[in-house]
Symmetry: none
Subunit: 538 residues, 2 copies
Amino acid sequence: MSERLYLFDTTLRDGQQTQGVQFSAGDKRQIALALDALGVDYIEGGWPGANPTDSEFFAAAPQTRATMTAFGMTKRAGRSAENDDVLAAVLNAETPAVCLVGKTHEFHVTTALGISLDENLENIRASIAHVVAKGREAMLDAEHFFDGYRANPAYALSCLTAARDAGARWIVLCDTNGGTLPAEVGRVVAEVIAAGIPGDRLGIHCHDDTGNAVANSLAAVLAGARQVQGTLNGLGERCGNANLVTLIPTLLLKEPFASTLETGVSRQALAGLVRTSRMLDDILNRVPLRSAPYVGASAFAHKAGLHASAILKDPTTYEHIPPETVGNARLIPMSNQAGQSNLRAQLAQAGIEVAPKDPRLGRILEIIKEREDQGYAYDGAQASFELLARRELGLCPSFFEVKRYRVTVERRKNKYDRMISLSEAVVVVKVGEQKMMSVSDSMDEDGSDRGPVNALSKALAKDLGPYQACIDDMKLVDFKVRITQGGTEAVTRVIIDSEDGQGHRWSTVGVSPNIVDASFEALLDAINWKLVRDMGAA
Amino acid sequence: MSERLYLFDTTLRDGQQTQGVQFSAGDKRQIALALDALGVDYIEGGWPGANPTDSEFFAAAPQTRATMTAFGMTKRAGRSAENDDVLAAVLNAETPAVCLVGKTHEFHVTTALGISLDENLENIRASIAHVVAKGREAMLDAEHFFDGYRANPAYALSCLTAARDAGARWIVLCDTNGGTLPAEVGRVVAEVIAAGIPGDRLGIHCHDDTGNAVANSLAAVLAGARQVQGTLNGLGERCGNANLVTLIPTLLLKEPFASTLETGVSRQALAGLVRTSRMLDDILNRVPLRSAPYVGASAFAHKAGLHASAILKDPTTYEHIPPETVGNARLIPMSNQAGQSNLRAQLAQAGIEVAPKDPRLGRILEIIKEREDQGYAYDGAQASFELLARRELGLCPSFFEVKRYRVTVERRKNKYDRMISLSEAVVVVKVGEQKMMSVSDSMDEDGSDRGPVNALSKALAKDLGPYQACIDDMKLVDFKVRITQGGTEAVTRVIIDSEDGQGHRWSTVGVSPNIVDASFEALLDAINWKLVRDMGAA
């Protein structure tokens, strides 16, 4: 008999409090859809009315199976819930659920709010009752609950009771400052349940200030709480929130959780967890944390010699779960024999068959290692990896040669005396004996400047003679830039995603201290890969 | 009456198993000295004989107050401890303590080692007895103990008893695969103590594969274990080991640990924790994790407007410890989450006093919101934020005007028929009535091309007439690029860090679809900020 455990994601609200994180409404939409596919129960989209991005997101919130939730705060003292404009803006977002943060720590009521303890109780009661009256699912985020309970347990509990009696579906105990340790969280949750707040109406919201956000959440669930709040990749204010990407596999795969609780996340969705985690890093243009539990690139990397050799006999010797369960993969350093069989498998996936022990496999591994030392990264640029291998295997024709290019970026006043920017690129290529010279500027359809890489990309794709038809349907759909280390110098790594008319998508990489050069290298690979695929390598 | 808790650092051994980490003997020496200054009790320096670096380190190990420990493994079956060359190499390092890893999981004994259960027991007994006979402090790392105890508790316990009876000072329970959760760790440690291994001879060694390495270590200490193993910054195989940088402040500052246990770490050493953590990142050339508990740059950053305004009234409202306790500092970043009181505090820090409720505060917040919607991010670009506010407050003189610029990036063959890249920038500025035209290329001292932004930066800084002396000592020290969303279009956000001759460092931001333009905007802000600071805003 398993009980339902509800997952509440606050990546779009508390996650947005991460220093340096600034989602656009479009980012939020994309993340919401990924969360919905993962199978979380609630998506907290933000605080309607608090900033233009959140308002824009809610104005056209995506359709989700998960319950879309708006965040806000309990009404202020001295006015009714109906007349609180901040609360009205939250309700105007018309979400099926509303989560209001309210004070439960007497010190905060008197110091931060400067109101009486009774006024605060009434703010909670009236606000929750108002949300319920509007037909919404109401939740209370009991701010600073654990600190408040330590200071004045009776008052902290009375805040929860007020919300419960006003009809809150969920009462969420927040360790707002993140300083509470797991043993205390477990004890307090048990005491709250004993005091009359049922576990199936109780949630937990933890922060990672002592590195225990995940453990605190698990302790609360063990004690009976049935809603867990967290964020993708542990984004969030200060040290971040409880990491749902870590919690979800633990709850689904580890005892006593796996056999006693049920969530909305399917085994199939779990197998896409690495992809979901990377999607967020991509949006934020962050380097994924290699050491992240379950989903990190190193999570199943076996570097110690003793470990690696035991793994070859039986993977369970040094792996706590099969990596594929979460969409991850085992990694044994390239120098190892396993490196070559990995490489063969990857080449086979690209339709390139190489015999085992072919000496060229070792050479390809060496080139990859050298290039990765220079700053290249092939795990996000499969097409460049294929081209590199093909070149070494003699399976990559030289379709054309770039003789030279020149890009000019200019900023000056136009005839209306306004500052404008414009870029212009000239590319000279040789196809067989024929020389082609092409030029393009950086204007898009609206007449806006899209920069030097845009101009260069258009000039390069303008005239490739006999190959032109093949590349005409190509377009650059994404462009990522990282400043990274190549040897001892900082270099720029550019990864370009291209797409063609049939919806194929491929990624290429370029590295140089010069960002335009790095981009150009990635563009060239993108075109060459398309030519190999469409014209054949013969 | 407090009990002694011993800290055992394995950064130099298990930490070296981190993917991408390769310490030199000199690095190890530097880290050992920092660990000693911090006040850990044991420093595990590596495995003498296993690789040249470890042997070199032990050959000239630094003098430390902490007990230097060599790692190895129990003798192999079919030979005596005296005749095991691997064990001999470990003892030859002449360290006062020796820690040997031994199997305690029957599956590993029979599958990975392929020996009988009794042979393994004898290997443990004889090896520990041999180390003790040599006058060293002996420890057993009980590998896979928690998995082994789950599979066959009697056998796993018999391995511990064998080590205890042979004279091991410490028996360390290792969650080698990192899959055990805190509740189970606590229960098993209590059972081991009840079975006759005293807590003051019991250690804990956890890995972070479920994100619980810290919580597991705390659970073991609560249950009575009195040695904790971990690494600086949580380095280690796969997802890493228990992070001592997180554990130490928790053990020293949080109950029930603070008042019942004593460690070798002083309050003064604790106040240097941020520095110790950064030192390791410096050696590894890693970007410090902003969200790291206690020591991360964001650990005391208050981005939410409600939090920031309460912090101004009383820092304990949103801080679980005073940041200076661990050598960290409070940070109130600017962002569209922030309210007016946050803004005033920020401006005050920059020496700009504005009265509460000044209507210009609201306007500045609005401009920030608008710009952040366009892709700007001010929490990583304090200097650009200050300039924006100053402009709105009428506190930013117009030192100079950029009339136009032009950058050319060229790639072509040189006279030796090799492809080379070169960029060239022309900038025209007007200072008062004087017009200055400057040009620069992108070559660094070695004659390598550093790209168009480098050329532009040099041209811009070449001649600013009367202000030239002020900017002559400026240099660009870091350059970050992100593709982000500005409205509905992708734009490039560039953040530039600049430094002057006195070691001041400041960050500025620029946004444009054109990467060169975005960089130029950030460069202009960098120069203007320096001029405001040095020339005054009057």
